[in-house]
Amino acid sequence: MPNVRLQLDMKREAKSYIDSLYAILTATGLFGGPKYRLSGLTGMAFKFTVHERLLPLSVSAYGEWINEHRPGIDNLGIYTVLDAGRTRHPTFRHYQQDAVLWVKESLNRGVGVIYWIPEFGIIDGYDEEDRVFFVQDGWSGESQIVLYDNLGLNFTEFWYCQAFGGKVDIPLEAMILESLRLAIYDWDTPHKTLPNTDIGSGRLAYDFLIRALKQGDYDEGGAVYILDSYCYSREEICAYLQEARAVYPELGEASRLYEELIGILPLIRDGIIETSGARKVDRNQVELLTEQFAAAQQLEDRTVDVFRSLSERYPDPRRSIIPRWGIHTPK
């Protein structure tokens, strides 16, 4: 009976999707370089969404995943196959069994598969005799086991699997330009999971965060997770822009604005205190925190304006024609 153990090295640092993607692509040579560059080029670092009550799902609820992830992978020039949906729908069983086949095919080729545990993790092996997949979440280094027949089932209503194939070379300047356009879209779009409006994206995410902190009725664990993820992403973007300005000198101003923003992060991190082993936002520092976030929002707004003026100087066929895919209301 065949079995595969790729033993990929996944480490939780950035958004779970990027940590998963990085583990898979670097192991196969489809991507080489630091993680922040992958986060930047796929546009993932720029995604920032906040639930009005700061629920922990804020960090991964940055849109309909297929529509959010596909343009990022496309920007790397990499072919991808993905499937996802709601497990309660009657056709799920078919798609699940189909996924069991193509996930194994990918593993046979030595390529890991991204999987919603939740959050995102990787499938890096299977055992045909026991009919199980091996799954990593990036926290423990230990593998979890998922039965073939339970693939996709979890306490959320969603399932998601994504595999990767061949690659074409895209010039770095084209990738950077597209990543900034993805960032502009995320910043400008108030809600990415319509018709729900309880999660704000981009500029509005800051408003949601500030409002919830001020009102005080929020999820404690979620607030810490959002702040941690926020700080990590800002550092990624800062590092990414420092590289990108070498390709586009006009990004110098954006890079400078982000360096200023990074200067705020220690104050934000200081807003989290540890009491009896649990980290939470220090409610005595809410005013200071919200002031910092308001300042950061301004800096980021100005950064996106720099992206915008750069973007306008180059043709953008992808956004000049109305597509036949992308945004829709799930049914």
């Binding site: 061949g166 074409v168 066929p317 597509p323 945004i327 829709h328 209301t329 049914k331």
Partner: protein, 316 residues
């Protein structure tokens, strides 16, 4: 290797994706339903989107990946599809994968839906000549499409139908009613509202275009032909639904009026170079009012489900 499914024959009647889907499903033996039934059950017939300049692309200006997946999903057909811009750098990778998928479907005795100016069926291939063979509904002979020409600038799209999952027929029909209400009331989020109108608003957009004269004459012919066919499909569908649920009689009556009004418009527009705009506008108004009444009747019939799903009535 050459494989040709000679019995796959697409005919243009529903003037939509349903023509292609029906050809594939009937050939495969996965449905015995008529096109109007399929158009209703998949809820495809309820889509009513126009470009405000009445361009010919209006009836197919929708999210092909999501909506054609749903059309299949609603009736228990599993599908696999993909789409993109032909100018994307990754297109050659996706084109090669698409050709493989399509050929695999044909090997399994199933046609594949692809976009080639409209939705058509790939019913065969010839590796030696590197071509797909298409049933396009216009010619008796199959059209040849070289593999390297797959993708119809600026879009490429394919969908293969892979499996049939038995569903309760009455539940399928009930879901289609929910989708009918949704489509009547909701703008398609993929389309800018400044350029497109959906559902009830589409009637006002057509009226406005005809009144101010700023519309595409050729496009308008295609748009009215397409929607006259859709409304006719809905009418037939409701004559069947009415036999399941007599309380849908009012909706069936109203949809019959809608279909008659659009049929009359289609006849006037196709036969006369300059039909009286006033007459067309009266017919549009009649159709809009009748369709509104039909939707009210459906909402009354589906009120419990609508109540349960409040906030997002389309979400199953």
């Amino acid at each position: 290797m050459t494989v040709i499914l000679t019995n796959v024959k697409m005919t243009i009647e529903s003037e939509s994706y349903i023509d292609a889907m029906h050809a594939v499903l009937t050939h495969k033996g996965w449905t015995t339903y008529s096109k109007p039934m399929l158009a209703g059950m998949t809820s495809a017939a309820f889509r009513f989107t126009v470009n405000r300049r009445l361009t010919a692309e209006g009836p197919t200006a929708y999210n092909w990946i999501a909506e054609n997946f749903l059309a299949a999903d609603f009736i228990g057909i599993a599908a696999s599809s993909n789409a993109g811009f032909t100018f994307d750098a990754t297109f050659p990778l996706y084109r090669d994968a698409a050709i493989l998928q399509i050929k695999k479907a044909i090997d399994d005795g199933t046609g594949a839906v692809i976009w080639k100016d409209r939705f058509v069926v790939a019913a065969g291939y010839d590796d030696e000549r590197q071509i797909l063979l298409l049933s396009n509904g216009r010619e008796e002979e199959m059209e040849q499409l070289p593999y390297h020409s797959f993708g119809c600038n600026p879009y490429w799209y394919y969908q293969v139908l892979e499996n049939r999952i038995p569903l309760d027929h009455l539940e399928v029909c009930r879901e289609s009613l929910m989708q009918a209400v949704y489509r009547w009331e909701t703008h398609d989020p993929m389309l800018p509202e400044s350029e497109y109108a959906c559902g009830k608003s589409a009637y006002a957009a057509i009226t406005s275009a005809l009144q101010n004269g700023e519309y595409d004459r050729e496009g308008w012919l295609a748009v009215i032909r397409s929607y006259a066919a859709s409304k006719q499909n809905i009418r037939s569908y409701f004559t069947v639904l009415e036999t399941y649920w007599p309380s849908l009689r009012e909706a069936a009556l109203q949809y019959a009026r809608v279909a008659e009004a659009l049929e009359e418009m289609n006849r006037l527009v196709q036969s006369d170079d300059m039909p009286a705009i006033e007459r067309l506008i009266v017919l549009l108004d009649e159709a809009c009012q009748a369709e509104e009444k039909a939707i009210m009747a459906i909402k009354l019939f589906m009120r419990e489900t609508i109540d349960i799903r409040k906030g997002d009535i389309a979400l199953r």
